[in-house]
Symmetry: C2
Subunit: 109 residues, 2 copies
């Protein structure tokens, strides 16, 4: 058994947000997302079929929601975003890497 570190292979060039799968399975997907000043495209909201739980591990970012609210997240801050709760990344720190841990999952009955 061998471990990895969440800081492994951080992208040197961040022309776009860098998304890496940590776990990809039928019911769950765990991603590391690395941003530096990136925001969601202006064109619209994320409107996902999956529930998402996301935590900032390093850096800082803001999520905005279709109800007009904005949540600012610092390291250790986490939030649950139900499926189809429209949201966007409205800000990430331009001066440092922001590392997000995101767990996307579906319900099965």
């Amino acid at each position: 058994m061998k471990s990895k570190n969440i800081h492994d292979l951080l992208p040197a060039d961040l022309g776009a947000e860098a998304v890496d799968d940590i776990v990809r399975a039928s019911a769950v997907r765990i991603e590391r997302i690395v941003s530096k000043g990136h925001t969601s495209p202006d064109s619209g909201w994320y409107d996902q079929d999956e529930h998402e739980w996301v935590m900032v591990l390093q850096g800082a970012g803001s999520l905005s929601f279709a109800d007009g609210s904005t949540v600012h997240l610092l390291p250790g801050d986490h939030i649950h975003i139900p499926a189809h709760c429209k949201h966007r990344v409205s800000w990430t720190d331009p001066d440092q890497l922001t590392i997000w841990l995101a767990v996307f999952y579906r319900e099965f009955r």
Copy 2:
């Protein structure tokens, strides 16, 4: 929408390992586990029906496996433990809180 922080409500008294659900759904369970010198009971191995992905967020801990290997985990270190891969927590730092983030999940087809 409101965020929480992974350091919220850290237990003052750690007579036993403290386990808190962050997300509990049909296919996935996200837990915060706080240890301070705790190890798995000597009586045996964890032998789980679920896959587990676990990361140390703070502190230090060691996982031992039935194949004789031991993996020492520091902050940011993470490891995937397949279902029925027998393991135990063989050490956690006795001098500071160790915070683990664990994602347990099942496969659906």
